[in-house]
């Protein structure tokens, strides 16, 4: 794929919040870019740094990790742990030639279908304006 192609975004979504929110966005007929590919996790605490790196290796232009609101994790602290991991990966990315803005952690609840659609649009736009935009890693 050539540079500045339509960005591909991988979203690692917690089953109890972001995944349900994405579902709700669909039920509410909210529009969000079709470039967001959702991978359901039982909790963002399941997120491994390797998942994120593999997503970039496989050609993703941006990665979203979306977990529950702080204090609402079904497994108490999975989202807090995931956030720490995401921050660590964001520090590593520039050393690999990848802008850290291509990875972001978001908190939302299962009732926030509109917020999910907004996050999806925000990430697609954010990646689009970066050097290389979409298709940088393909």
């Amino acid at each position: 794929m050539s540079a500045n192609a339509e960005p591909k975004i991988v979203a690692f979504c917690c089953h109890y919040c972001a995944f349900a929110a994405a579902d709700l966005a669909g039920v509410l007929r909210l529009k969000y870019p079709p470039n967001v590919h959702i991978i359901r996790l039982p909790c963002t605490g399941k997120l491994d740094a390797l998942y994120v790196l593999k997503a970039f290796e496989a050609g993703a232009d941006g990665v979203i990790v979306a977990g529950c609101l702080e204090g609402s994790c079904h497994f108490i602290s999975g989202n807090i742990r995931a956030k720490k991991r995401v921050l660590a990966i964001k520090k590593l990315l520039p050393k690999l030639g990848i802008e850290p803005e291509r990875l972001e952690f978001f908190n939302l609840s299962s009732a926030q279908g509109d917020r999910f659609a907004q996050i999806a649009r925000e990430m697609v736009e954010r990646v689009r304006v970066l050097k290389g935009g979409g298709g940088k890693f393909s």
Binding site: A49, L50, L53, K54, F56, E57, L92, K95, L96, G97, I98, F137
Partner: protein, 224 residues
């Protein structure tokens, strides 16, 4: 266990610069437990290096693997053919593993880790040096707390004047740490062995430590 730290990614990328086909070989013993060079870390590092090299426009072919104990030829032997097909091997073992592979194979073996110390797991994600491997153990006299490893000055008759009012050491290389001799004093009290503190240790014979040159252990009865 042997505790090690992964080298900065910049340094690893620099070491790998001349090579295009490399085996990343981890070790499933100590360095896997201290989350520095096990199978998991091999996967992460390989992924990171592939991404970095791709963004530089100089892709690299990486084979990933890990052996049970890289310090033992027996476990490395199944990897012989794979190793011989590489331009270099990036070893994620401690320095012992790197030495062992270098003795056996005629290609560059690069260290991905900085080997640090013998340590215990203090808590998840934290490892602490508690044994210095000096070759002449006195733990039975010090309540199981080693002043050689845990005192910054290796004092045998401590504490020194650098112990602070809260019982921590004046040496702050890794943040405040308890004075080994305060720990020993308290521990001996619990064991009803506080009289041990009155023993004056004579000057230590350091020849059993590295000061006697590289060490070697031979068990005649086990030789084949």
């Amino acid at each position: 266990m042997i505790v090690a730290d992964q080298k900065p990614i910049e340094e690893i990328l620099q070491m790998l610069e001349p090579y295009r086909r490399v085996l990343f070989l981890g070790c499933q013993s100590c360095v896997a437990v201290c989350m520095a060079g096990g199978e998991k870390e091999v996967g992460l590092l390989a992924s990171a290096v592939r991404l970095a090299r791709k963004s530089q426009g100089r892709p690299i072919e990486i084979t990933e693997g890990a052996v049970k104990r890289q310090c033992d030829d027996e476990f490395n032997e199944p990897w012989r053919e794979t190793i011989e097909q590489q331009e270099a091997v990036l070893s994620l073992a401690c320095g012992v593993g790197v030495n062992k592979l270098s003795e056996r194979f005629d290609l560059p073996i690069l260290p991905a880790l900085n080997t640090k110390f013998f340590g215990e797991v203090e808590r998840q994600g934290v490892w602490t040096e508690v044994c210095a491997g000096c070759g002449n153990c006195i733990l039975h006299l010090t309540g199981g707390i080693c002043p050689i490893a845990r005192c910054a000055k290796n004092l045998l008759n401590g504490p020194c004047g650098g112990v602070r009012a809260d019982g921590t050491c004046e040496v702050l290389q890794n943040g405040p740490r308890p004075c080994a001799w305060v720990l020993i004093y308290e521990r001996l009290g619990k064991l009803n062995q506080r009289q041990n503190i009155e023993n004056i240790f004579t000057a230590k014979d350091w020849s059993s430590d590295r000061h006697g040159g590289p060490r070697r252990r031979v068990r005649e009865d086990m030789l084949l």
